[in-house]
């Protein structure tokens, strides 16, 4: 009896020793900053010799009255609402094609996946040139083929966000394709044979059998897509700098500006709290939304 208890305790010690390096780093750079962010959101920004002072909900009040903040939130929600479904749908179509027996499969797979390995910052530089008014490829095509006038897609408040979204969709779809491809490869061919014997059309087969079986992947991919929609803002730096008139500012970019351009760290902490809350709500919401529809194998 005594012997087993001591081995159990010995195991605890081993486990804790094995875990401690990773956990210390994890706490230091993820959990600790997350908690401190919440605390700093109730304090003013320290300036010079004046330390941060407790100001209660003042930062949150400022946030509610900040028109730019609401503009940015709206931008980011629109960005998420547009890029997530489109990139996931394209990814699924790509995966179905690449999983088939089409001609030039190697090229197809390479073309779809390549944007994923390129740095977003580099990708943004390439696309920036496409959008250059008058000179860039898009205007060349508009002028040359359709005789349309030049258009500054990145310089107009009503087009800039869509222009930036196109880059995100282009970059992400291939990445999500991989996960669908992985899932498709685990579906046994016998299912297809059975459906053929039953005389099911390809359309029915896809919607009734393949699509439900892919639900866990869809959940996984869309959670990732949500996180990326709020986490990746590199292209904003290169293409628009958030402009014109904040029309393409996303939340994390706004946090960056507040913290490292204007040094409003208290306010930036408050914005970060909003970002974390948004992410949690969306992620939890997705789990509940998909919960009934996911068929685990």
């Amino acid at each position: 009896m005594k012997f087993t208890r001591t081995t159990a305790q010995l195991n605890w010690i081993y486990a804790w020793l094995l875990l401690s390096p990773a956990l210390i780093m994890l706490f230091a750079f993820t959990h600790y900053p997350a908690i401190v962010t919440l605390i700093s959101s109730f304090f003013s920004t320290p300036r010079g010799k004046r330390p941060a002072k407790f100001i209660g909900l003042e930062n949150y009040q400022a946030l509610i009255n900040d028109e730019i903040f609401w503009h940015v939130i709206w931008n980011n929600l629109l960005y998420a609402l547009a890029t997530i479904p489109i990139s996931v749908a394209i990814a699924l179509v790509m995966a179905l094609w690449v999983n088939g027996k089409l001609r030039g499969l190697g090229f197809l797979r390479m073309a779809y996946f390549t944007p994923t390995v390129l740095p977003l910052i580099a990708v943004a530089n390439i696309w920036l040139f496409f959008y250059t008014p008058g000179f860039g490829l898009i205007d060349q095509i508009r002028n040359g083929l359709f005789g349309l006038p030049d258009q500054n897609l990145l310089g107009q408040t009503d087009t800039v966000l869509w222009a930036v979204m196109a880059v995100a969709i282009w970059k992400e779809a291939g990445f999500f394709m991989i996960f669908y491809l992985a899932a498709l490869q685990t579906i046994p061919p016998s299912l297809k044979e059975a459906a053929d014997i039953e005389g099911a059309s390809r359309w029915t087969f896809f919607w009734r059998i393949i699509f439900p079986l892919l639900m866990p992947t869809t959940l996984f991919v869309s959670v990732n897509a949500v996180i990326n929609a709020f986490r990746l803002v590199d292209h904003i730096f290169v293409m628009t700098g958030g402009g014109p008139d904040n029309a393409s500012t996303l939340l994390l970019f706004y946090i960056y500006e507040q913290a490292f351009k204007y040094w409003q760290t208290g306010y930036a902490a408050t914005l970060t709290v909003v970002l974390l809350a948004l992410l949690s709500i969306l992620a939890i919401g997705q789990f509940f939304f998909f919960d009934r529809k996911v068929h685990y194998r």
Binding site: L18, P21, L23, I24, M25, A122, L252, Y256, A259
Partner: protein, 281 residues
Amino acid sequence: MSEQTLPHTKPFKFSWDKTLNTTGAWVLALLWFLPLAYAIWTAFHPAMYEVRFDLTAPLTLENFTKAWEAAPFGRYFLNTVLLVTGILAGQFILCTLAAYAFARFEFPGKSVLFTLVLLQLLVMPDILIVENYKTMRHLGLVDTITAIALPYLASGFGIFLLRQTFMTIPKELEDAARLEGCSILGVLWRVYIPLAKPTYLAYGLVSVSHHWNNFLWPLIITNSVETRPVTVGLQVFAAVDGGLEWSVINAATLLTSGPLLIAFLLFQRQFVQSFIRAGIK
């Protein structure tokens, strides 16, 4: 997909379905490939061919030499390589130890701690830039490569991935090794790590490409040539409004993504397979 399994389909029968699918797939692929093809075109031709597509246009490497001379890309590459290998080494060590504990040990607080680890999949260091910057300032690490790497060393994704792999390894193998007198770390080194090699490869590729491409945190924490990775270097280079030709910027763009791109094209199959493997778990 269906042709293979349908016995009555003749091999050379024309099928609308297949033709439409093939066309669609190719149109999308060309559209997807266009930006890169375009960047390659401009980078390898003189500036005057930026928008003139002439197949007889002379090829040149001049844009690359111009870009290489205009900014210290050599140093930037060195920084990125140091950064990426440092992160990878740290992640392998920390995640392996933690994953082993979660996979094969029973201890109080296990499920709580595992939840806290998984929380990092949602609450990433990428978002916590303000507080992490303060921490680095207190540690006196601002503008060092170490500071870029530190927040990413303990990766929730890595711990999760390795734990899933370790759990599929039969416990009997560990027991046998223990009977032979292997220590805990010995078992990890001789049994678990060799059997999890494909997962390490997959995770390694994901990690390297992720951190090679990372931008925001390195931008914030570095401010000198000696520490900047290529992504930040490219931004600094391209942001200088000095009448830089697009062909030179595109050459620099290809330069920064080049090593990763070439590695990807050479090992395409393994790369995709690795991502699939990492995604399945």
